[in-house]
Subunit: 329 residues, 2 copies
């Protein structure tokens, strides 16, 4: 069973992928499928003795270039569609331990190059409307493989939360004449109290109305709709700030902090959204403290209304204290 | 710190409540604050030796009738507001063990009466726009007190997910001339394969495009915008179906299945939404199997696109096999 179904009550498409129940689940380090293939050992997913960054199609995809026909029959009320798109895995390096916070900036820059390349390639496909790059890090967010890696979902339509942001940005530009994220970046630079790292091209900050205590957003200082609009020096600046954010997390908590990292870029189906798409990355760790997690419960799951028990200014100060801003002072 | 902040990027209000960090956390049974006060013992939250259903204001509220002034200063971009509203706790009975699945139908009916009463009372307040009744059950969804209880959040505006449903229902009625949930109920009764319980007035089913493997929705057969529109026999029928759903969960899994239960009713700020508000309850358990949870990760948290690894028709059959439908055959 691999298909998409439309929920007429929320207006959202959902993905169904029955075979995902069989995913490899937390293998021991010696059996890691994302490590290089070692001489005399059975092959891993990657038939190479060393590598920088590797991308391959997820073996348990919920979206695929040539999906099967849906198993269920739809109706006028209940639309059904094949799971067109792609799920790719991006292995950050051949080192089983090396997370984004541990990697040198020039190695992170290679990951950024790969992201840009995949965004262009997947986005250019007819069946793809939106390329979503993300990383799930840590067992607390459901990770099934420890080797540092990210994922890419190429959706056949703009997914609900991205669409919502585009709609809100469109209203904002119609009302104020400006990109809302350009305005947010300007205000955060001016206020300063929620900034945790910055350099010549990027800003990392705890958002003013954060959903999670240690949520951090990374945004480009200038209006760039996607990675493709960033110059090489800007991509290097992005790599620096990503390293700084993950290092701040890991230093403050004293362990690799689990998080979801989500990259928001322009949809790839048309050129219409360039003026309301401002490149940014959201880090959403679930931890409230080293021992306690924030759970998504009634208010969040049912009503969509988030409760945060920490002041963004306070968590930003704690994260900032672990790091020093780089580049321009 | 108790305040609300507006996120201009998503157009959502978020609640901030710093004192919630001090909430009572999983006390042992003898120290349960939701049990009756026993003679010679220190008083619990409820100064009564026995009771049916009790409601009181949450001691650690994120919304309150007389909230403090916000601590932060807002701006044109970043709106700030006091946390007007209410958070109430509904203790289902004086029995520390008795969940909705264990209670007799007439006792559940008393809880339903209290919900209706609170919906009317809170909804009648000037500062309240939407009354949201829910239950978080089990440590897996972050419960901090085991004694069976639910909660009520009275929000000062319609929360994001409720607003989304109202918007989608409005488009549906404008296009098709019908209430979308009336159409869903008709299709589910006709298809039958996703129904897990039904009687003369209510239907329980796994939704066609469920977000979670064991998600179950309970909807009124006729178009009733809220509990206030249900007759006494209908409220009794609702109690029967709620009992059947929770019993099916607990029988299938062999333990009290953790879930979030969310009740969706008409907003209370005006009469405008009556025709697009159809009373329904969503049960969202996180369990995929007895051992494995569904995690909300990149696709869900970042993009808002849910992946479900189980066919709703299959999980419905498993739940249905544990129970027998009641009432009309």
């Amino acid at each position: 069973m691999t298909e998409r179904r439309y929920d007429p009550v929320t207006g959202e498409w959902r993905m169904f992928a029955g075979h995902r129940q069989d995913r490899t689940f937390l293998p021991d380090d010696a059996s890691c499928p994302l490590c290089p293939t070692r001489e005399g050992q059975p092959p891993t997913e990657i038939p190479l003795p060393t590598f920088d960054v590797v991308v391959f199609e997820n073996r348990f995809p919920s979206l695929a270039p040539k999906p099967p026909d849906p198993a269920v029959v739809g109706s006028e009320l209940y639309a059904v569609a094949p799971s067109h798109g792609a799920n790719e895995v991006v292995v950050y390096s051949d080192d089983h331990q090396l997370s984004l916070g541990d990697m040198e900036v020039d190695r992170i820059a290679k990951v950024v190059e790969v992201w840009a390349d995949r965004y262009a390639d997947l986005g250019g496909r007819d069946e793809v409307a939106y390329v979503f790059i993300f990383e799930n890090r840590g067992v607390a967010v459901g990770v099934t493989l420890h080797h540092p890696h990210g994922q890419i979902y190429a959706y056949p339509e703009i997914p609900p939360r991205a669409q919502r942001k585009l709609d809100v940005a469109t209203v904002h530009i119609d009302t104020h004449g400006t990109c809302v994220l350009c305005d947010v970046v300007a205000q955060e630079r001016s206020d300063g109290v929620r900034v945790i790292a910055h350099n010549r091209s990027f800003l990392a900050f705890v958002p003013f109305a954060a959903r999670f205590p240690y949520e951090v957003h990374v945004a480009s200082l200038r209006h760039a709709p996607s990675l493709l609009d960033l110059t090489d020096p800007e991509r290097l600046a992005l790599s620096e700030v990503l390293q700084a954010v993950v290092r701040a997390y890991d230093r403050l908590f004293g362990f690799p902090l689990p998080y979801v990292m989500s990259m928001h870029q322009a949809p790839t189906d048309d050129g219409e959204h360039q003026h309301v798409s401002h490149f940014h990355i959201e880090f959403t760790p679930l931890h409230r403290t080293a021992e306690k997690l924030k759970y998504l419960a009634g208010s969040e799951l049912g009503a969509g209304a988030f409760i945060n028990d920490a002041a963004p200014e306070d968590t930003a100060a704690r994260l900032r204290a672990t790091t020093a801003s780089r580049g321009e002072q």
